[in-house]
Amino acid sequence: MNELANQPLKSEKNNSQGYYRPHYQIEEREDETVVWVELPGVAKDDLNLTLEKRDLILVAEASNHRPESWKVLHRESVDRTYRLRLHLGNYLDCEAIKADMQNGVLALTLPKAEAVKPRKIKIS
């Protein structure tokens, strides 16, 4: 549990109300944290990102990638609404979040706050 508390990002434990938590990966870099979220079938316009205090909330609909005239013969995928809530640690700069959507993967770049970035100290 302690380890979880030390992570920069925490996501909510469970998805209620039929929401689907997308697959995601987090990469820690020296001066930023990058989160990759897999959202197949989600167009840029269907993606909703909001920041509530230090919680980043993602809601995305992935159901409209086929015309109505198509009849189903066999289905393994499901229409779903993705939802992901990430709590951003204090040392991330919430004001400078960048989001980029490509090929069904959202890349969220969260820069570290200036105060926690590694910096060189001059020796006098």
């Binding site: 820690e28 167009a43 086929r66 198509w70 013969l73 066999h74 393994e76």
Partner: protein, 142 residues
Amino acid sequence: MKLVKYRNPMRKFDLRSDFDRFFDLSPPSFSRFGSIFDWGTQSEQPALDLYVDESNYYIQAEIPGYDRKEIEVQLERDRLVLKGSRKSTKAGVESEATFHRSVTLSENVKANAIGARYKNGILTVTVPKTEAEKARRIDIKN
């Protein structure tokens, strides 16, 4: 350097329902033993959907994160193979991901007119019906 991976168990294959006589889906390889043995492979069997309308069959696969150039759609006799591989470096660790699924096509399709497109992480392959197949619809009268 930390890399956290989250895989939703619901992504797994669901039970195969009765499917159309036109298609024979290959079962994902190793899926029965996937939880017991680690085969050391990153290969994924993406969810596959089959649709039909008046003139075409459509095969859709969820493969987010690939570049168009990393995806291959091949016809091996009557077997339509969807596969791809991509390399990525995250947190200084290089990794390769691959996917592979195949579908057997019936004789009633125009194999030389198959088209494919990739958008928002979804691969859609369009397989046109032959004229004979299109005409096979039978109207039911009162």
